[in-house]
Point group: C2
Chain length 393, copies 2
Amino acid sequence: MSDDISSIIDTLWTVLPRGGGRTIGLHEPEFGATERAYLLDCIDSTFVSSVGKYVDRFEQMLCDFTGAKRAVAVMNGTAALHIALQVAGVKTGDEVLVPDLTFIASANAVSYCGATPHFVDSNASTLGLDPEKVDRWLGETASVVDGVCRNKKTGARIAAVVPMHTFGHPVDLDALIDVAARWKLPIVEDAAESLGSYYKGKHTGRLGVMGVLSFNGNKTITTGGGGAVITDDVKLADRLKHLTTTAKVKHAWDFIHDEVGYNYRMPNLNAALGCAQMEKLPEFLAEKRALAAKYRAVFAGHPVAAFVDEPANSHSNFWLNVLLLRADKADLLPALLERTNAAGIGTRPVWTLMHKLPMYAHCPRMDVSTSEDLAHRLINVPSSAHLGRAHAA
Amino acid sequence: MSDDISSIIDTLWTVLPRGGGRTIGLHEPEFGATERAYLLDCIDSTFVSSVGKYVDRFEQMLCDFTGAKRAVAVMNGTAALHIALQVAGVKTGDEVLVPDLTFIASANAVSYCGATPHFVDSNASTLGLDPEKVDRWLGETASVVDGVCRNKKTGARIAAVVPMHTFGHPVDLDALIDVAARWKLPIVEDAAESLGSYYKGKHTGRLGVMGVLSFNGNKTITTGGGGAVITDDVKLADRLKHLTTTAKVKHAWDFIHDEVGYNYRMPNLNAALGCAQMEKLPEFLAEKRALAAKYRAVFAGHPVAAFVDEPANSHSNFWLNVLLLRADKADLLPALLERTNAAGIGTRPVWTLMHKLPMYAHCPRMDVSTSEDLAHRLINVPSSAHLGRAHAA
C-alpha cells in the first residue's frame, strides 16, 4: 500500500514543479497588469456596484466566447442555478433530477425553489449524469401525462433535469437531449465547471434551455465571486435579467417591482476583474490542456491510478484533473489524500454524495452504485493553468 | 405651483454646487488611494474569493465601529436580511411584521423564507415603523398563546418584527423593544440605510437580536455589492457564518454540509474595498452631517418643503436627506421630480408602498394611512458626503 501511494506521488512529481516549500494548490487564480488596470479604471469611474460598463462588457465577452445569444451575469454560480431553475419553471413541490455526485449547489438551488432534488447516477466515463440509466429509471418511476412528467411514487411533477459537467468533462448530451425530450424535461446545464468545454463543437451550457457558469476563485477564470446564465432564448434572458435585478420595472426614479425578484446582479467591480480574466481565457485553456496531456502521459500504464480523460465527442477544459484508483485499491484514498497534502501537493476527493448528507438523505433517488464507486476512487490533482506553461517543470 | 417648485429648486441651489453640467447624484461613492492600494494588494495575494484576510478584517472593522461582538459579511443587504430572518427562526407559513414604507428587500427577504410580510404603518417623525400603532394593531389582530404570537385572522404565527431605519433615521427603538417583548417577537433591525446612526448612543442594528447592514453602491460606504449581519450573540453569529458558507463543516478537503445553506459570503475583493471605505467612514459621516445642517438651515421656514430632521433620542447618519412637502402641496411631487432631475439635481420619491405592488397586494396589513400620506410628500435630495465638505458650495 505504501509503495502504491509512493508511486502515485512520484509520478505526480514528474509533472509538478518541486521546491518553493509551499503547497501546490488545486487551482490557483492568476492576475496581471490587465486585472489591475481594469479594477483601477472601475474605481475611477465610481461605478463599482450594480450598474456599469464592465457588467455589460463581461456579458458580451461571455456571449462572444460561448456563442450564446445572451449572458446574464450574477453574483455566483449558485445564484445562477437558482434563477435558471426558476425561469425554467421549477416550482414548490416539484422534483428536479440532479446527479448524486455533484457539488452541494446543485441540490441547494433546487431547494431554494421549494422543490426536491431527485438524485440520479453517474456514468463512469463522463463522471456526470448517465442518460441511459436515467431513462431506465424514469421508465420504472415516472409517467408522462398531458405533457407533464410525474413521479408515480411521490406524485410530484418532475420539472427539469440538471446535468453537471464534472471537472469540465461534458456529459453525453446527445443521449440526454433525447431522453429529456421523451420525458418532457427541460435541460438546465450546470456548466459551472466547464467554461471552455465543448460537446461536438458546441460550448457546454448551450445544449439545454439554459446553462449556468461559475467564476468562483477556484474556477478557470474568476471574478472573486460570480456566475452567469447563458441562453439562446432572448425571452428567457429578459426574464433572467428582470428576476436578478429585483424585478424592477425600468424608470428614472420610480420604484415599481412586478414580482418577487432577487438581488443577484454581479457588481461592476467583479465584472471588471472578469473582463480581464476573459482576455486570458484562451491562454489558460491551452495551458490547462497541456497540463492534462502531461498527466495523461505519465499515468499511462500506471498500475494503480488512471488519468480520467475527456469523454468521447467532447473537448474538456480539464478544469480539475482527476485520477481514478484501481477498483481493488480504493482503500488507498484516505492515506493518499493525507500524504499528497502533507507532501505539498494539493489534492481532494470528490464531494460527499448528495444522498449521504443529512438534509438530502430522504430525497428520491435511483440506484447510485456508480456514483458510490467513483466517490471512493476519484482524487483531484493540481490543475492551475501555470502548471501547464512551457517553462513549468 | 410653478413658483412653489422654483422656490424649492432655488433653495436647493443654495446648498448644492452649480456648474459642471452633469447631474448631481443622489448618493455618489468616493474612492481614493487606499481603495486602489487594497484592491491591488488583494489581487497580488490571489485571494479574491471566499477566503482572505480582508473579509476577516472588514468584519472586525464593523465590530469595532458598531460595538457589535460579531459581524458576518455577505454579498448584499438582501442576503443579510434573508439569513438573519432565517436564523431568527422565521419559517414557511409564518408572518413577519415589515413596514409598508420600505425598500423591496424587506418584503422579499420574508418571501425567501417562505413567509408572508405583514405590513405595518410608519410614524411621521421617524418615517419608520410606529411602535404604538403596531401595538394597537396587534391588540386587534393577534394573541400570544404559549409564548407564540399568532394572527387570529390568518392563523399564522407572527415570527418577527423588522423595523427599517428609513434614510438613516432610527425608529423609536425603546418603544419597539417594549412592544416586541410583550408580543414575544424577536426584532431583526434592517439597518441597511443606517450605518453610523445611533439610538440613545447605541449603534442601530444592535438593539434587536440581529441587525442588517448594506454596502451597495449608493450607501454611506460601498463594497460594490455587500452586506453584513451584526449581533452580540456569538451563537447566532456562528449560525450566520455557517449558513452563509454553504453549511460546510470545516475540513481540509472533505465536503460535508450538514443542512441547506447558502453561498452568501462576501468575496475578499469586495471586502478589500470595504476596508478602505471603513477608514473613511468617520469623515464621510461628519461631512454628511454638515450637509444635513445646511439643508436644515436653508429649509427652515420654507413655505412648502420641510427638512426631515433626525428623530428624538437619535443621531442619524443622514444617509439620504429628505424633504416633506406641505400636506396641501402633495400634488407638486411629480412635477418637482421632473424639474429637479431636468435641472441636474438628482432626486427621487420614496419607494412604492409594498402593498401597492402586485405580489404583495394581498398580504395582511394594518391601516397604513401615514405611509400613504408620506409616500406622496417625501422627496430625497442629493446627499453625497463630498457635498458637505468644507470647500463645497
